[in-house]
């Protein structure tokens, strides 16, 4: 048990981050080459101004037309992403691991606050599941890739919460680390790749709308 846990938080964690770094660069590079090959004019039209304009406008809740059409989904989407990022950075055990490994120290959440945020994030995942099942249009475009991505995101959240409640003793933190590492490695190969591509997708569309069609894309 201990040796497995030590392996998971040590060498396996390093492996996961290195694999993510290498495959992320590879995915971004091949996508760039594909764009150059298939849509060379778009690459020429890429502009910092229109890219940033689009990114900023889409970062503001209910600012874009897309965010306005489905208010509930928009709320859940923003809450989910904010909570997830806050949890990953500001949960005490993550900071302690960084402190022990690299001496990095900063303020963190209390475990009660972390539990509440985790519950909220899991509730958001439940809404995503509910929507995929009940909304006919969404169900029609749902592939197994979507379910795998959602499961990969939910697994570390659920194991973290159960671990925080003391369910499963030393097994649960081990499962938490392993499922989180699975999530990290899966990013470039699943729908989670939007973590890598989202900014570039916005920049691409923003540049086309700003530079070619001369209109807003939000």
């Amino acid at each position: 048990m201990n040796s497995l846990y030590n392996f998971a938080v040590g060498p396996l964690a390093w492996a996961a981050f290195i694999i993510l770094a290498v495959t992320a660069v590879w995915r971004l590079w091949s996508m760039y080459n594909l764009a150059k090959q298939k849509d060379a004019s778009s690459v020429a039209y890429m502009s910092w101004q229109f890219s940033l304009r689009s990114i900023v406008n889409w970062l503001i809740p209910y600012n874009s037309l897309g965010w306005k059409t489905n208010p509930v989904l928009t709320a859940v989407t923003f809450i989910f992403h904010i909570c997830f990022v806050v949890l990953v950075i500001f949960v005490t055990p993550h900071q302690i691991l960084l402190e022990n490994a690299f001496g990095i120290t900063y303020p963190t959440l209390s475990s009660e606050a972390a539990d509440v945020l985790t519950l909220i994030t899991i509730a958001c995942c439940c809404y995503f599941v509910y929507r995929r099942v009940t909304n006919v249009t969404v169900r029609y475009v749902t592939r197994s890739n979507d379910w795998i991505s959602l499961g990969l995101v939910a697994a570390p959240l659920v194991t973290a919460l159960l671990g925080s409640w003391g369910v499963g003793g030393e097994i649960m933190p081990l499962l938490h680390v392993l499922t989180a590492e699975a999530l990290i490695v899966a990013i470039p190969f699943t729908r989670l790749a939007h973590i890598l591509f989202a900014l570039f997708t916005r920049a691409y569309i923003g540049s086309e709308f700003g530079g070619v069609r001369h209109c807003k894309d939000w």
Binding site: N2, T92, P93, E99
Partner: protein
């Protein structure tokens, strides 16, 4: 006869070890760590029963494994500082060339447990929640 005497002898033998143990135990962490400098606390203090721990881990003769000396950013593994609280040399806040207190505890405890593949390595196995 033997059936009566053996237990009695064993009880006496056990009682002899108590003064020896309590002579050491004065001021040592008993049951749990007690480091008020780390307040405000996020977790229950780590489980650590000084003498029994070191007996189990075969460290009774090796105080320096934990109570090292040193100054000016250099550790001294020859200087036995048993009895000096770690906070004397490891400040709570970050300082140049000093491993801060919380990290010093974690590195010392967890590194040894990892290397020996014995003893707790998970947060809650040391910070066992108090009832």
């Amino acid at each position: 006869m033997n059936k009566v005497f053996t237990p009695i002898l064993l009880i006496f033998a056990f009682m002899l070890t108590i003064p020896a143990a309590s002579a050491f135990a004065e001021g040592m962490p008993e049951g749990r760590m007690n480091v008020p400098e780390l307040a405000p606390f996020k977790y229950a203090p780590a489980v650590f029963d000084h003498d029994p721990h070191n007996e189990k881990a075969g460290l009774e003769e090796n105080c320096i494994a934990c109570h090292h000396g040193g100054e000016n950013g250099k550790m001294d593994m020859e200087d036995d500082t048993s009895g000096t609280p770690c906070v004397e040399c490891h400040s709570v806040e970050k300082q140049r060339g000093v491993t801060p207190l919380r990290r010093a505890f974690h590195l010392q405890c967890i590194t040894c447990h990892e290397n020996q593949n014995k003893g707790p390595v998970q947060c809650k196995s040391c910070h066992v929640p108090e009832k």
